[in-house]
């Protein structure tokens, strides 16, 4: 109990400091108030034109599609992560050594930083854009299952963090891992459903995606938000897909831990 309380105190302290640090650059976050709605408008007109007179496309109607992109944008603000960039920078510059000596696990420190950073995202990106989407664009952005949606977004938050942390750890082997990170960002953009719902991909690819981390980072929480989950022609109840998402997160945490231990055996540094 005492350990948990101590960990929570650390999380709170690091999150508050990160929040204050990034608050100095809050206009960076506020760029999203302009960018998010602009991208949303583009998507709105693309899909309105694409539907034409059709009522359904790949099992989604136009309203569901518009809600999909609205929810995808908003959930993206809550789960966005750059732990990979921070970690690879610390490894490349040798500064990771100072973290290796601290009586706190670096991953927990990075996670606490993310919490603080995303609270800022909640205030300066999520809430303003939510207001714009609902009041200006009249998009209904009320989750069908509030509880499951919150749980799924939390799992996506964890998934994004652990996956990016794993990516960052590749720098223990390659030192400069910017290429790998860029390739991953590209793949996750396409296969997590940020650009287009995954049901538009060929069936065989949709089946493979079940076994990759990408859908659990964005597509699953967004579909849980809309209240219907379909992938590769398989329709699932919301509790089941959230359960699968939780399992995927557990596997990712396990991989992250194994990789961290291997990384620590490999890492060496002098006087950073």
């Amino acid at each position: 109990m005492k350990t948990i309380k101590k960990q929570l105190n650390i999380l709170w302290a690091v999150a508050v400091v990160t929040y204050k640090e990034w608050s100095a650059y809050r206009t960076h976050s506020m760029v999203s108030i302009l960018v998010g709605p602009i991208y949303f408008i583009v998507q709105y007109f693309i899909w309105t034109a694409a539907y034409g007179g059709r009522t359904m496309l790949n099992g989604m109607d136009l309203t569901q599609m518009i809600t999909y992109f609205g929810a995808s944008t908003l959930i993206g603000y809550l789960t966005m992560d750059f732990a990979d960039w921070n970690l690879q920078m610390l490894i490349r510059t040798g500064k990771f050594l100072t973290f290796a000596l601290r009586p706190i696990h670096h991953r927990f420190f990075a996670f606490s930083q993310k919490v603080g950073h995303r609270v800022l995202g909640l205030l300066f990106e999520f809430i303003p854009c939510y207001i714009i989407f609902t009041l200006l664009f009249k998009v209904s952005l009320v989750p069908r299952h509030m509880g499951w949606t919150i749980l799924s977004v939390l799992l996506a938050f964890l998934m994004n963090f652990y996956i990016h942390y794993i990516l960052g750890m590749t720098a223990f082997w390659f030192t400069q891992s910017s290429g790998i990170r860029r390739v991953f960002d590209l793949l996750s953009g396409v296969f997590s459903g940020v650009f287009i719902p995954l049901v538009f991909f060929p069936h065989a690819l949709q089946k493979i995606l079940f076994f990759l981390p990408f859908p659990y980072m964005s597509y699953v929480p967004v579909m849980v938000f809309t209240g219907n989950f379909t992938l590769a022609g398989i329709e699932m109840d919301i509790p089941i897909i959230v359960g699968i998402q939780a399992l995927a997160v557990c596997i990712t945490i396990l991989i992250s831990e194994l990789l961290y231990r291997a990384s620590m055996r490999r890492f060496n540094g002098v006087g950073a």
Binding site: V35, F45, I196
Partner: protein, 284 residues
Amino acid sequence: MVDKRVDKRTNLNMDIKIKQNGLRLRRYLTVYKECVKVAFATASTYRLNFILNCTIMLLGDIIFPLITVLIYGSGAGFEGWTVYEVLLIQSIFTMSTAIADMTFHGVMWVTMDMVRSGNMEMVLILPVDTMFILMARTFSFEGIGLFIGGLVIFIVAILNVVVPSILMWLQFFAYFIIGVLVMMGIALVMAAISFKWVGNSRIPEIFSSIRSFGKYPQSIFPKAIVIITSIIIPIAMIAYYPAAALLGRGNSGMFIMILPCLLFLLFGIYLYRYMVRLYQGVGG
């Protein structure tokens, strides 16, 4: 007699001015050539990084054509536009972006960085135009993969639409060049903003989101947006108008659209130069 002497002196002054301008132009060309050589040497030295970045840029920018293919593959589409016609627009956009990345997009990043770190005066003291030297120094070959990718999609698309006439090709090239100039205007406006909005690496995101209107047929957008994308921030000229010219969808009214594009470029140049004049630094 006096008039003749004045005429002679005026002609002499003009000759000197032309000669000076000629020398200046030659000097600028030499500087640019050297910068291109340095860029080539850099790319050759860090070959793996160069190839990796080329590939990533190429893959990153073919996402939009991929989305178009997926939309049409699902049986949907934009009314009045075949998949190849839409791909034509997007391939032109990709090629234009590649040229911009190679030749002048660097000015935005380098200005942003120099203003943030306070190194701008290191460039200001050079005996060349600031805007020119920053563009020359940031010349990069990394966009070549992107250009080739765009060109391949362009060829595939053009082979599947009506064969354009020579006049259509000429119109296309004219609009394409103007579109690249619009890109330059955007890059300069972004760079100029970074003088005031110091260190905000998300400035390009704003313009990138606005540019995304230019990747699709303008007929899918309402008139108000088309007016903005054709006159105020003329991004429709980057890909839509050149593609429309090739597809024979152009009309004489389209030529008028060149005017706001040139005005936008001039505005970008003026704004950048104005912000450079306002810059204050104390030695980096």
